[in-house]
C-alpha cells in the first residue's frame, strides 16, 4: 500500500527523484566541516521565519498598540518570552552566521571563477539580512526602537542627492512616526521575506550549478551530500540551535519604555552589528560626515561585491592564502575596535547598569527615597518583584502593565479590594504622608532603574526616612524638590563639616544667627542617619 502511494506520488510529481537528486548531489572529497555555515545560515532564516510568524499572530501593527502587544506576548502568553527571545537573538545569530559563512568563502577563495555570481548573490543576502535587522528594530516601538530608528533615518538623509528621497521612501521625512512604522513593518514582513526567499533559492541553485568548491589538488573520489555532509551540517545546526535556545531562555529580549519622542534623556544606540557604522560617524564631522555615513559603507559593499574580480589569481591552498587571511584579520580587528569603542562609549543608563557616576538612588527626591524605606518595612517584596527574575504572587512593580496615578495608588494601598476586587493584597496601615512616599517611589520605577533602586543603600534610605518624617522639605530642597524657604541641601558636604551640621540641628541660632529654622531634638541614631544622608547629596 505504502509502495503504491509512493509510486503514485512519484509518477505524478517526480518528488522522490527531485529529493534524491538534491540529497545525492556529488560533493568534492575535500568538503567537510568548513562547509557547514551555509546550511546553518539557512537554518537561522527558518527559525526567524517561524518565530516571526508566531509573533505576528499576537502583534498589532501600529505604533503604541505594537508596544502593548509585544508586552502582552512577553508577560501574558505562556512561551511568549521564549518565542520573542528566539526571534530577537536569532537575528543577531543570523548576522554572525552569515558573516562567518562569508569569511570561510573569502579565506578559501571559493568565490573564484566560475562562482562569482554565487558570491555576489551572497553579498546581497547579507544586505537583506541587515535590512531585516534594521526594520525589525523599530517594531517593538519602545524608546530603544524609536530613537534607534530616528538616528538611522537621519543617516539615510545624509546621502548626497538621494538623501531626501531615501528618507521619503522610509516615511521619515517629517520625523519617525506612523508612516515610518508602516513602511518598516511592510518591509520586514512582506518585501524582505519574499526577496530573501528568491535570493536564497537563486543562491542555492548557483551552488548546485557549480558544485561545492573543491580544495586545489582535490582529485579524490566524489562523495555524496547525503548522509555524510548532511550529518556534519546537522551537527553544526544543532550546536547553533542549542546556543540560540539557551540565550532565549536565559537572556530576556529587551523591552524598554513606550517610545517617547519627548524623552531627551534617552541615548539612542543601534543594535550591536550596526555599532561599527555608528562609531565610524564620530570620526567624520561637518561636511565630511557624508564620508563616514554614506561613502565608506557603500564603498565597502562595492568592494565586497567585486572581491572575486579583484582577487583573480590562481586557486591556492588555504594555507597559502595569506593575503585573504590578513584582510579578514584586519577587518575583524577594525570592526572589533569600532564596536568596542561604541559600546564603551555608551552611557550607562542605556544599558541599565550604573558603575561610577551618581547612583540612581541619588537622583530621587527624599520622599521617593523614603518610599523605598516603607517598601522594605512593609515587606512588599514578599509578594512583588522589582524587575528581578522569578515570579511572585503580585505583579512586578517595575513593569506592571498599566501605570496608575498617585491618587489611585493611595486608595489602592488603603483598600485593595475596592480597586481590584478579588486581589489577595492586604491593606497597608500607614499614614497618608507615608503612603504618598511609597506611591512616589513606585511611580519612579521603570525596568531600567528598578534593580539599582531595589539595592539602594539602607543608610541613605534611613536618612531619607528621617528627612521625610520631619518634613524638612517644607523649607528645603533636595534634587530640586521642596520649598525654597531655606537653602537647598545638595552639595552640603562641600560647604559644611559634619560637626557643624549636627550641632546646627540642636541649636540653629547658635550656628546661623537670625535663622528661621527651629531646633530639632533628634534621637542620636536619627541625627547620625539624617546627617550622613545630607552630606552624601
Amino acid at each position: 500500500m505504502v509502495k503504491r502511494i509512493r509510486h503514485f506520488i512519484e509518477s505524478r510529481t517526480g518528488l522522490e527523484t527531485f529529493v534524491n537528486e538534491f540529497l545525492y548531489e556529488d560533493i568534492p572529497a575535500s568538503a567537510g566541516w568548513h562547509n557547514v555555515m551555509g546550511s546553518v545560515a539557512l537554518f537561522c532564516f527558518l527559525v526567524q521565519a517561524f518565530t516571526g510568524v508566531m509573533l505576528s499572530f499576537n502583534y498589532a501593527a501600529s505604533p503604541g498598540e505594537a508596544y502593548n502587544s509585544v508586552k502582552f506576548i512577553m508577560t501574558e502568553l505562556t512561551g511568549g518570552k521564549l518565542i520573542r527571545g528566539l526571534h530577537h537573538w536569532g537575528a543577531s545569530m543570523m548576522i554572525v552566521v552569515v558573516v562567518l559563512h562569508m569569511v570561510q568563502v573569502l579565506i578559501w577563495g571559493a568565490y573564484k571563477k566560475p562562482r562569482e555570481a554565487t558570491w555576489m548573490v551572497g553579498v546581497v543576502l547579507l544586505m537583506v539580512t541587515m535590512a531585516f535587522g534594521l526594520t525589525g528594530y523599530l517594531l517593538p516601538w519602545d524608546n530603544r526602537a524609536y530613537w534607534g530608528t530616528v538616528v538611522t533615518t537621519q543617516i539615510a538623509g545624509l546621502a548626497p542627492g538621494a538623501g531626501q528621497y531615501v528618507q521619503r521612501l522610509m516615511g521619515a521625512e517629517s520625523g519617525v512616526g506612523v508612516v515610518t512604522f508602516a513602511r518598516f513593518y511592510s518591509m520586514h514582513t512582506l518585501l524582505l521575506p519574499v526577496a530573501i526567499l528568491l535570493l536564497i533559492a537563486f543562491h542555492v541553485y548557483l551552488v548546485r550549478k557549480h558544485g561545492v568548491a573543491p580544495d586545489p589538488g582535490d582529485n579524490g573520489p566524489k562523495g555524496k551530500f547525503y548522509p555524510s555532509q548532511v550529518f556534519k551540517d546537522t551537527v553544526a545546526i544543532f550546536v547553533a540551535f542549542t546556543v540560540l535556545f539557551s540565550m532565549a531562555l536565559i537572556l530576556e529580549a529587551p523591552l524598554g519604555r513606550l517610545a517617547d519622542p519627548t524623552d531627551t534623556s534617552y541615548t539612542p544606540r543601534p543594535d550591536w552589528y550596526f555599532m561599527f557604522l555608528f562609531q565610524l560617524l564620530k570620526f567624520f564631522e561637518g561636511p565630511l560626515e557624508v564620508v563616514g555615513a554614506v561613502i565608506l559603507p557603500n564603498l565597502a559593499i562595492v568592494a565586497l561585491l567585486l572581491a572575486p574580480f579583484i582577487d583573480r589569481g590562481g586557486v591556492k591552498r588555504v594555507g597559502q592564502r595569506k593575503g585573504a587571511m590578513a584582510l579578514v584579520l584586519v577587518g575583524a580587528i577594525g570592526w572589533s575596535a569600532l564596536t568596542g569603542a561604541a559600546i564603551s562609549g555608551t552611557p550607562k543608563e542605556v544599558e541599565g547598569v550604573a558603575t561610577g557616576g551618581p547612583a540612581e538612588w541619588a537622583h530621587l527626591s527624599p520622599e521617593e527615597l523614603a518610599g523605598i524605606g516603607y517598601y522594605r518595612k512593609e515587606n512588599c517584596s514578599a509578594c512583588h518583584t522589582l524587575g528581578e527574575d522569578g515570579k511572585k504572587m503580585g505583579p512586578d512593580l517595575a513593569k506592571s502593565g498599566i501605570r496608575r496615578d498617585a491618587k489611585w495608588m493611595l486608595e489602592h494601598f488603603k483598600n485593595p479590594q475596592e480597586k481590584m476586587p478579588g486581589t489577595s493584597m492586604p491593606p497597608i496601615h500607614l499614614a497618608d504622608s507615608q503612603l504618598n512616599a511609597l506611591a512616589a517611589f513606585l511611580l519612579k520605577l521603570n525596568t531600567q532603574n528598578a534593580k539599582e533602586l531595589r539595592d539602594a543603600p539602607q543608610p541613605a534610605v534611613d536618612g531619607a526616612l528621617v528627612y521625610q518624617q520631619n518634613r524638612c522639605n517644607a523649607c528645603h530642597q533636595v534634587n530640586e524638590v521642596g520649598a525654597k524657604l531655606g537653602p537647598p541641601l545638595n552639595g552640603l558636604a562641600k560647604r559644611r563639616e559634619r560637626a557643624w551640621v549636627e550641632g546646627h540641628f540642636a541649636d540653629p541660632q547658635k550656628f546661623s544667627p537670625g535663622t528661621t529654622m527651629p531646633p530639632y531634638r533628634l534621637a542620636p541614631k536619627d541625627l547620625e542617619r539624617l546627617t550622613s544622608y545630607l552630606l552624601s547629596l
Binding site: 508566531m54 508586552k71 502568553l77 512561551g79 518565542i83 555524510s228 551537527v235
Partner: protein, 167 residues
C-alpha cells in the same frame, strides 16, 4: 576522518549518520513546536476579573415582558482593555427575581429578537425559538439561552459574567 578506521564499515557509518540526522532533527523540531503550541493554545495568564456592571433600573422594567437593555462593560481583549457596548434581554419575573439573557442565539451566535405577541424569542437566522425562561421551543439551538449572573441591589440590576450551560 577520525573514525574511518577498519572497525567501522561503510554501512555502519551511514547508519550512524542517518540516526544522528533524524535524532537531532527531531529534538530541534520538538524544541520549536512545543513552545509554539503552548504559545498559541494556552490562555493568557491574567485571570479575568469579576466585574459587576449596573445595567438597568428595576423599577422601570415591566414584569413578565422581555426588554433589551444596553450597557457598557470593560472587555479584556488580548493587549487591549476596551469599554464596549453590550446588551442583555432582561425578563423581570418579580421585584426580587430577574433573569438576563446574553443576546446571542446559542445555535450560531446570531442576535435574536423578542416577539411580543407570542412572548417568545426568535432567531432570524435558523428560526430557533425560545420561551421567556430561555428554553428552546423549536429550531436547531442546542441549549437554552445563556444567562448573565444577576445581582439586585435596591432598584439596581447588576450583571456579571455570562454563564454557559451545556446542553
Amino acid at each position: 576522518m577520525s573514525f574511518q578506521g577498519n572497525s567501522r564499515t561503510e554501512p555502519d557509518r551511514r547508519g550512524f549518520h542517518t540516526a544522528v540526522i533524524y535524532g537531532l532533527g527531531a529534538i530541534m523540531g520538538l524544541a520549536m513546536s512545543l513552545p509554539a503550541a503552548v504559545y498559541l493554545l494556552f490562555p493568557p495568564k491574567s485571570k479575568k476579573e469579576d466585574q459587576w456592571v449596573e445595567a438597568a433600573d428595576l423599577s422601570k422594567l415591566e414584569t413578565g415582558v422581555a426588554e433589551e437593555v444596553v450597557f457598557r462593560r470593560n472587555r479584556v481583549d488580548g493587549w487591549k482593555v476596551s469599554s464596549e457596548k453590550t446588551s442583555a434581554w432582561v425578563v423581570k419575573k418579580s421585584d426580587t427575581e430577574v433573569v438576563a439573557f446574553a443576546p446571542q442565539c446559542t445555535h450560531l451566535g446570531c442576535a435574536y429578537r423578542f416577539d411580543e405577541r407570542k412572548k417568545q424569542f426568535n432567531c432570524p437566522c435558523h428560526t430557533s425559538n425560545f420561551d421567556l425562561d430561555g428554553k428552546v421551543i423549536d429550531g436547531p439551538a442546542p441549549r437554552p439561552l445563556d444567562r448573565y449572573l444577576v445581582k439586585i441591589e435596591g432598584n439596581k440590576l447588576l450583571l456579571g459574567q455570562v454563564e454557559k450551560k451545556e446542553a
